[in-house]
């Protein structure tokens, strides 16, 4: 409904807690912000209980700052680390049962399309490797097969971090983790290729080393999902606890992985390419 629902009733500005007043005055609603300037705005995401130095927490901040229309965005998450920060933001958040994100998002997006055929309602799933590629695999795949119009972002820490460090389908082969005490026996699932095969119109893979690029990728994925079909981003968000990465080495680790197996990769259908070029041109024009 636009911005009315994030406006304070007249006379109540002086009764609201400061963080809400700031959110309305200095927040992201109704604006496009530069992710490199998130320090200068009241961020959507608030204080959260993720581990100090967690790279996933950093990604979540960039994610929220990149939303093309935060006042009309709904985020879905599932059990796992990311939801600890995802849920602490001024954007509606849905947390259902473990691994159900892409089924819930399918129903949600369809309901919103029925009710608001002419309005933008962005639906974004941000879930972990376990939620999307293990327990929720079928629902993830089928949401893509069905060409559901929402974005799936996999924050891949290659482990079940929240439950204490168990092997996931996305853990690299050979890694010794709980429930794989002799080392993982099979390869990391190739989620990107699966997404392409299953019908995503925009697929990207990245290590979060460059905030501007992350923001651009997220925006593209959300814009393409609005009009065309499912989109997918696979992000490496290391677990510094389970993989024993010292806090000061987290960025270096991401850069290393970027060089090895998480180099920036972007793929889209011709249709998506055409659409995004057009949209980006429009946005650039609007700016100038």
């Amino acid at each position: 409904m636009g911005l009315e629902y994030v406006k304070i009733s007249p006379g109540f500005e002086k009764y609201m807690p400061k963080d809400y007043v700031d959110l309305v005055k200095y927040g992201q609603f109704g604006k496009q912000i530069d992710v490199q300037q998130i320090d200068q705005i009241k961020e959507l995401v608030e204080e959260h209980p993720m581990c100090a130095g967690c790279y996933m927490a950093y990604f979540v901040r960039i994610f929220y700052a990149s939303l093309p229309k935060p006042e009309d965005t709904i985020v879905l998450g599932t059990a796992g680390c990311a939801r600890l920060a995802l849920s602490q933001a001024a954007v509606p958040f849905i947390y259902g049962n473990y691994g159900d994100t892409n089924a819930v998002a399918s129903g949600l997006k369809r309901a919103l399309s029925i009710r608001f055929p002419d309005k933008i309602k962005d639906v974004v799933v941000v879930a972990g490797d376990g939620g999307l590629m293990d327990i929720g695999f079928g629902m993830t795949m089928h949401s893509w097969f069905r060409r559901e119009k929402f974005t799936t972002i996999m924050v891949d820490n290659e482990v079940y971090g929240n439950t204490g460090g168990q092997e996931s389908g996305m853990s690299p082969k050979g890694v010794q983790l709980k429930m794989a005490p002799k080392g993982k026996k099979f390869d990391k699932i190739n989620a990107v290729e699966l997404a392409k095969t299953a019908g995503c119109v925009y697929v990207a893979k990245l290590a979060p080393t460059n905030p501007k690029r992350i923001a651009k990728t997220i925006k593209r994925a959300i814009l393409a999902a609005r009009e065309l079909g499912p989109t997918f981003i696979h992000v490496y968000t290391s677990c510094n606890i389970e993989y024993s990465i010292p806090t000061e080495r987290v960025l270096a680790d991401a850069k290393e992985r970027e060089k090895n197996d998480f180099g920036f990769y972007e793929w889209m259908t011709d249709e998506a390419k055409e659409y995004l070029e057009e949209q980006e041109k429009k946005m650039a024009e609007a700016k100038t």
Binding site: Y5, S87, G96, N97, G107, M139, R146
Partner: protein, 389 residues
């Protein structure tokens, strides 16, 4: 498809003219969906449910529904229903036996998530070994999750219960999912007379803002909303929160009772309230019981029927009142565990009088003669085992 006009809920459910049709239980459920202004239905095949959702799919193709799809499996279907209802749509699905159990994690979460959806439960044996025959043990799995559970005796009940459930589930003080259960094949694939409201009338659309929780549609404050945050004991969440949350679900469940009175003529039906012996039953066992009571009365026996329509909320007070002078209470059931007999025993003072027989299961039919045998035994009438009437 005829042009449908929206009429008041009370008018449609209580006053609208009715026309009699001879249809199957599956058709009766679909006919109710047709008149319920449903936005979206999500289907996944399983016998004996499939036919119902085929018919609902046809309704979508004809334009009665706005969206419909075949889901990946029941867990996905039930999760998607939760998503659609959160998004403000009116949603419907149906399943049977093993499918219900596959979807049960999601279904059992609906009440806590405050998801007012209607779920058709067309009962079937729960594996193993595999069988597709009717057996209603699956209802016992639904009884403790907080949703409203209605049990339909025949095609007419299926129509009435389903249509009313859309209205009841969305009441602000209820706002819970409702399961409309009936026996697979015995009801779903059998025909009976159903008095139906006109095809060109439908319920008012869902108003998701008339609700005890905001829909997740970015149209109503607060913007910072997670309707049901995971509960962590800490000083940002009270120790009590989950407890009072569950209390809210079960309070809401109890509040549904007044609407069951209003729209379904109460949670029970009684024939011969002064009876010496009662046959108490739900679902299609109530049809067998109704038959048995008629025969018994023809024989001059003082036997009554207690049909229980609402399993959850259970009409404790009404059941207690009805059975207070009964010498014997015969409870025929289509399952081995005897969930209805247990429930009745738990709710009356003279539980020794409850006879948890006859029970058939694994899809066997429940002959009226078995109930008659119990009636004779209860009244101390000696008869040959096989009764011919």
């Amino acid at each position: 498809m005829p042009e449908q006009k929206v009429v008041e809920t009370d008018y449609l459910l209580l006053e609208a003219p009715r026309e009699r049709k001879f249809i199957t239980g599956s058709q009766a459920m679909a006919e109710a969906v047709k008149r319920a202004n449903v936005d979206i239905a999500i289907a996944y095949p399983i016998t004996p449910q499939s036919e119902t959702m085929h018919l609902v799919g046809d309704l979508w193709a004809q334009g009665y529904l706005k969206d419909y799809y075949r889901a990946e499996e029941e867990y996905g279907a039930m999760s998607a229903i939760a998503g659609a209802v959160r998004g403000g749509a009116r949603a419907f699905t149906a399943t049977s036996g093993p499918g219900l159990l596959r979807g049960l994690e999601a279904i059992a979460s609906w009440p806590g998530h405050r998801i007012p959806a209607v779920l058709g439960v067309l009962t079937r044996v729960v594996n193993a070994p595999l069988s597709i025959q009717p057996d209603n043990v699956e209802i016992s799995y639904l009884m403790n999750c907080g949703m409203v559970v209605l049990h339909a005796e025949n095609q007419q009940d299926v129509f009435d219960f389903t249509l009313a459930s859309f209205a009841i589930s969305e009441m602000v003080d209820v706002y819970l999912p409702i399961a409309v259960c009936t026996e697979g094949f015995f009801v779903t694939h059998a025909k009976g007379y159903v008095n139906m409201t006109p095809e060109d009338m439908k319920l008012p659309p869902r108003d998701p803002y008339k609700a005890p929780v905001p829909p997740t549609d970015c149209e109503i404050p607060p913007a910072r909303i997670q309707r049901d945050a995971p509960v962590q004991k800490s000083n940002f969440m009270s120790y009590l929160i989950h407890q009072v949350w569950q209390q809210e679900v079960w309070s809401s469940n109890m509040r549904a009772m007044k609407y069951i009175y209003k729209y379904l003529n109460g949670p029970i039906e009684v024939i011969n309230p002064d009876a010496e012996v009662f046959v108490a039953a739900s679902g299609c066992a109530a049809a067998q019981a109704r038959e048995a009571v008629r025969y018994a009365q023809m024989e001059g026996l003082n036997v009554g029927l207690l049909k229980i329509k609402s399993i959850v909320p259970f009409p404790s007070k009404e059941v207690r009142e009805t059975l207070k002078n009964a010498k014997a209470i015969i409870v025929p059931e289509h399952n081995i565990v005897g969930w209805l007999a247990k429930e009745i025993k738990a709710n009356i003072p003279n539980s020794d009088n409850v006879i948890g027989r006859p029970r058939v299961y694994g899809g066997m039919t429940l002959p009226v003669e078995l109930i008659m045998d119990e009636i004779y035994a209860a009244l101390g009438i000696k008869k040959d085992k096989t009764v011919l009437v």
